[in-house]
Symmetry: C2
Subunit: 312 residues, 2 copies
């Protein structure tokens, strides 16, 4: 029953005999004791009320359910304690594989990850220093492309509202791509042009307010998530600043809401459903004993709608 | 190992002896064979990409995780075949309890539900003819209240876009509450004033277009879900019809998006997180052997924002 080795034949026989003698049909639990397969995948996400993660789950489920795997869902609420608890549970319940989207505890807790004896895939994070396969969009490149698109349309004064810096993909990476693009095109970044949101529309509303108190206003803003971009659109609407006539707004994620705003949001397509499918496929490959790449990159795209205008 | 009876002592002993002789620590699976507790709750929802259901899950998780129960997630995609498959799986995996939000198959498949031997709670549906506890908002009354509020503000020509009729809570019940309020106030419902959406913003956009082709336009529209109300707001925006100056719009659900639209949506507060918590609590009560009401009603409220105006 040690998860890392095949079941010893004598144990297998003993359990089967016990089941036989009592005349019961082996049920899923008894069977999994013997076959060592639960056909359950543990999935840990930080937040289920966030559309991004619910669509990630949908993608994972659509792949694994085809192969008759089911999902054990762990919601960590971004709490390190819960992350550790669920990893212990995953092990105890002898799940067949694990997909992790919530790994705050990583810093300094690499041991926990190294002790997992079943296949693991991590999504949304690049795990430097681990052998664990990851599935991720190239956030730096995508933010670079979004910013370069604004620059290509003639914008020079471009502000940026990033995700929180404790979230490397939406904070550091997307901010980093913006900075890289500005630098590559020889454009300065005024100090007041860069702000950090906390993923809520409200935080971006406030950040935009601060940015527009600057003496020189930006002609375009790159916002690291669509939900925060909605906060920016609302600030501009409430101030009577027209989008895109006065200011262009570029989002990131291409959530459903991006096509429901007026004007509709130009954004980066970063499909959590495809993330989920890719993660599910990487995990299934491992379960079949196939080798997988250490890092798979989910492609990104610009989705051109109505919130960005060329400067003439 | 038959779920309906205690484990027979001889089997219990045999399994424990097999485990002992081989020198292994009993793991969660071996332990659950003996204790008959998996501490896993099966939760079945139709659609995870819908914010309503992801927040329902969040509410359920917040209650059960406090008592060290975890969640086995089943996404049915509204497919009867998947619903049956997952119910079989729930049984096989010997989950301790079940919360169902997806029960399309119910008509004519009552046998399946009657065969479940663990505690069950159904959310979002009133299960007439079953003994299964349900958790639900009073959709008829809530829709009645929303419509009566519009009437109280002086509106007489009120249109309604309901959910699809195959979904009783959002289709029949919310439409029913609207009809009941109109009738109670002696107001006629012109034929073209009633339309059915399919939950998408797009379907409501199209429905609103048809309603506004009528010779006599409505002064207010009651829309059975917030997401569809966004579709209506967008149609009116694109036509240059002002909300609430020309037309009032009332939503239902109070999703996050209701406070992100411009104007912000006046709507019915119908909190899926609270649903989830109530369902989790009803299930925990059953697991502790306490009696539960057959039907619990989650309270609703009107949330007054900016999309509805009094007629003078």
């Amino acid at each position: 029953m040690n998860n890392s080795k095949p079941v010893r034949p004598e144990l297998r026989e003993k359990v089967l005999r016990a089941v036989e003698e009592t005349g019961f049909q082996p049920n899923a639990i008894a069977r999994s004791l013997v076959s060592k397969e639960t056909r359950i995948i543990g999935v840990m996400i930080p937040d289920i009320s966030n559309n991004f993660y619910s669509n990630l789950l949908y993608g994972i489920d659509s792949v694994i359910s085809e192969f008759d795997y089911s999902m054990f869902l762990a919601i960590s609420d971004e709490a390190v304690e819960k992350e550790r608890k669920y990893l212990r549970l995953f092990k105890e319940k002898q799940l067949d594989g694990i997909i992790l989207s919530s790994i705050h505890f990583l810093e300094g807790h690499s041991q926990t990850l190294h002790e997992i004896e079943v296949p693991v895939v991590v999504t949304g994070h690049d795990l430097h220093g681990y052998q664990i396969p990851t599935v991720n969009v190239n956030n730096v490149q995508a933010a670079y492309d979004a910013t370069a698109y604004l620059i290509g349309l003639g914008h020079r004064r471009i502000a940026c509202i990033s995700g929180p810096l404790w979230d490397p993909p939406c904070g550091l990476d997307r901010m980093g791509g913006y900075r890289k693009a500005m630098r590559a095109h020889g454009l300065p970044i005024p100090e007041g042009f860069v702000a950090e949101g906390d993923f809520t529309a409200k935080s971006a509303y406030e950040a935009a307010k601060r940015i527009f108190e600057e003496q020189e206003r930006p002609t375009a803003i790159f916002v690291a998530t669509d939900l925060m971009a909605v906060g920016v659109l609302n600030f501009l609407h409430d101030e009577g600043i027209r989008v895109p006539d006065d200011v262009s707004v570029m989002g990131f994620d291409n959530l459903e809401i991006a096509s429901l705003t007026r004007p509709m949001l130009t954004t980066v397509h970063n499909d959590p459903y495809m993330y989920g499918r890719a993660a599910g496929e990487q995990l299934l490959k491992q379960l079949r004993g196939e080798t997988v790449e250490r890092m798979s990159t989910v492609p990104h795209d610009l989705v051109i709608r109505q919130s960005v205008k060329a400067l003439v």
